[in-house]
Symmetry: C2
């Protein structure tokens, strides 16, 4: 899941070894901490997440969070910097806009915890560490929409930036508004069924923008 460099401990040298559970493997430990943190931060947000809960979920001592990441804040930064994982994978060029919209929604299904983590951070409004990739990604998308507009794919009276913003916000519904999802559709915001149908619907909606009389 995370492209972390994994150093496999040499098991051939010493025949007397601790059970696999107890074998020391800093990379595996780091990964366990990162995975647990992503879940906790995603579920509760930074302020409400507890380092002891993260350590507990990872099955390690909580001091290791300071040892490896320099504390709660450092751990969060480490996760927040991993933009390539999710954002980079979206290939939006050469696809019709409705498909791009669908992809935006489907992204919320894959790395859900990370997505929710970013949602909390985005809402807090603080400047994003490693925000460069995010901002650059958005700018690229704006330009692509502008190009589509010049090609007549979407109406002329829409501002590309504002259209993208509306798309991103709508696509984030399952992450940002789980309660509204239930209140409006009756579905669970995390369910693949809901997300898939929502992606379809948003693609349809965007499709109606492009169809000319």
């Amino acid at each position: 899941m995370i492209g972390y460099p994994v150093r496999v401990p040499e098991t051939s040298r010493n025949p007397r070894r601790a059970p696999v559970e107890k074998q020391r493997d800093p990379e595996r430990t780091k990964r366990k901490i990162l995975d647990a943190a992503k879940i906790e931060f995603g579920a509760k947000g930074y302020a409400a997440a507890r380092v002891s809960d993260i350590a507990g979920r990872a099955g390690v001592n909580k001091q290791l969070i300071s040892y490896y990441f320099g504390g709660k804040e450092g751990l969060f930064q480490e996760l927040a910097g991993q933009w390539h994982e999710t954002g980079g994978e979206i290939s939006t060029v050469d696809q019709p806009l409705p498909e791009v919209a669908r992809q935006f929604v489907m992204t919320t299904l894959h790395d859900r915890d990370w997505g929710r983590m970013m949602m909390w951070a985005n809402m807090s409004g603080e400047d994003d560490p490693g925000g460069d990739p995010e901002a650059r990604f958005m700018q690229v998308q704006v330009e692509q929409i502008r190009t589509r507009q010049q090609q007549g794919e979407i109406p002329d009276d829409l501002d590309p930036a504002y259209l993208l913003l509306a798309l991103v916000a709508a696509a984030s519904a399952s992450l940002a508004l789980p309660r509204a999802v239930r209140n409006i559709t009756g579905e669970d915001a995390a369910s693949p069924d809901f997300i898939t149908k929502y992606a379809d619907q948003l693609a349809l909606l965007v499709g109606h923008l492009t169809k000319k009389p």
Copy 2:
């Protein structure tokens, strides 16, 4: 702002009175606490908000929060129950859908702190206290959209509930995604200029859904 019953203290009886600042007025104190809490909860969310900050902002001793509202949790519940203020004012019937979309966005300009507070709460996914009015409001909106659909105002292939969800999520952008707003449009999410233009743009967008060849 808040429809709280205000008891004006009798000033005529006793000529020797404390300065207006120090005059005791529980309703005014409650209101000051509620206003301050709305700002703090809206800015940081429940978990990150501090009762001492709320009291400090209200200019009162923090004990009064327990005294009047039964603590942090009670204070939050009190605010969360005030749905009529914002939600009830939106008159959506007899307006074309683009205007409804515009109104949804413009709502985020009026009671901004309360809106952000609800956004935090909505994101946490917990069942909403006084969630009944919210859920009922949403259901009414879904039915209105369904009616519009039957009248041919919007395409037949869109599910009214999912369309409403997309609209609500898109309209919440300035509350839920202030960072994305800056990254994408370069504007400040709280600025009336931005919100007004965004409302216009979303109305335009929805308008393109309805126009038939």
